[in-house]
Symmetry: C2
DNA sequence: CGAAGCTTTGACGGCAGTCAAACCCTGTGG
DNA sequence: CCACAGGGTTTGACTGCCGTCAAAGCTTCG
């Protein structure tokens, strides 16, 4: 499961545009608690942890991308979140992971032993507050996503997705999507064909440009905002 | 907004079948912190707090029922959760409420000042742990609900809803639903007509019985479990 | 250069949404 | 006590958005 221990680190990951406070808080937890994070690498498509497995570690993406999902018995899949560089994932209040996490592409993570984090939280109230805030941040995302899944049409979902990815991983105005159309569909509650058709329509309207299917440049963010309802 | 101060209390609410640990934790927070909760009543359809309003209180349902929802600008609504006797709601890690809460029927709540809760968490690590656990419980529900909204068909959603309500509010094998068909639809990402058709089909199959549209008895829970995918 | 996987596009179908009308229940006032 | 009004629920007819199935095109990498 853990491929390759590369090195240890307490330095912050990529201050970049993924300016969620979660990554800062992750660093803070480590600093306050005197913890040291190890780095590991997962290959493309490799499982990081499975649904209902004991939660032994907390992770932070350094490079790459992760999908977090649930499966129905017949194979239908709902991706709850994508984790990108700087994002913390796998943090549980209870004993087990409630979704499966997989590397979408080759991915490097920093990780902390969950038990160490718990101990830090038991002695430092600021650490405890940070853990709560991280879970609350995931809840906020889930609440927004329920609105999308329950009430938005296909074009609104895709527009919302593009704006979210633009905010979280665009560099130099260019979106380099790590995930395939099926992953996007399983995140948005659509089929891969519907995602493709929506993107094609936006392309033909000049709202976005392609440099290969996964390199996208947004040419009219306002139009996307208007479509997002 | 706060109609009527009835009395104060530190005793647990209704140990009943809503055996979520959240209500116990609410009591624990109060006991550990020496806090006293006030009781208030909201009338049917009355707003308890609005989206983006400052989060000043934490609430626990004593009697009645609450819907927690987000709206799109054109009126489409997604209900994220129903809160029933014993449930805690309105707890935020950040400064504001992210959904609107309304009483579905006449509802009594106990409430704590958020500032008091924060202070208790700052000095008692067990309180801090409880707050995190409550938010984590809401996140778990949201993750399950994303799977329902993104990937289940109408019958699977309704079957899931009936089993959830059966677990949370059935007394003597009878479900007394406080919410109308539109609320159920807005919770399940369906229209009220689709909810009604699914319930009618289950009735005609003998899976459930009606005593009025909102009094339901489940006659074949196994069948519902099988339908829930 | 070739194979495999990913993406796009097209044709068609079906599930759930929309619109509409009838039915039912509850509460209220005569 | 009954009539009525209003809202909630059920049912029907039809529509349409998105899913399904299929095939062709495009990348990428060995």
């Amino acid at each position: 499961m853990l491929n390759q221990a590369v090195r240890t680190s307490v330095t912050p990951v990529k201050p970049g545009n993924s300016a969620s406070s979660a990554s800062d808080q992750f660093s803070m937890v480590m600093v306050h608690a005197g913890l040291v994070a190890s780095e590991f690498c997962y290959k493309k498509e490799e499982e990081i942890y499975g649904e209902d497995e004991p939660a032994e570690y907390v992770y932070q993406v350094v490079t790459g991308a992760v999908r977090n999902y649930k499966l129905l018995s017949d194979g239908r899949r709902q991706i709850g979140a994508f984790y990108l560089p700087g994002d913390v994932f796998g943090l549980e209040s209870g004993p087990v992971h409630r979704l499966t996490a997989e590397a979408i592409v080759d991915t490097t993570v920093r990780l902390l032993k969950r038990r160490s984090v718990e101990q830090a939280a038991a002695t430092d109230v600021n650490v405890a507050r940070s853990l709560w805030a991280m879970t609350a941040g995931e809840l906020r995302h889930a609440e927004d996503h329920m609105l999308l899944l329950g009430r938005k049409n296909a074009m609104e979902r895709v527009a919302n997705f593009l704006l979210e990815m633009d905010r979280r991983l665009a560099v130099a105005g260019l979106l380099a999507l790590p995930m395939c159309r099926r992953d996007i569909g399983d995140y948005l509650g659509l089929t891969l064909e519907t995602v493709s058709r929506a993107l094609s329509q936006l392309h033909s309207q000049g709202v976005l440009g392609f440099s290969g299917a996964r390199q996208i440049s947004l040419r009219n963010r306002q139009h996307l905002h208007n479509m997002d309802a």
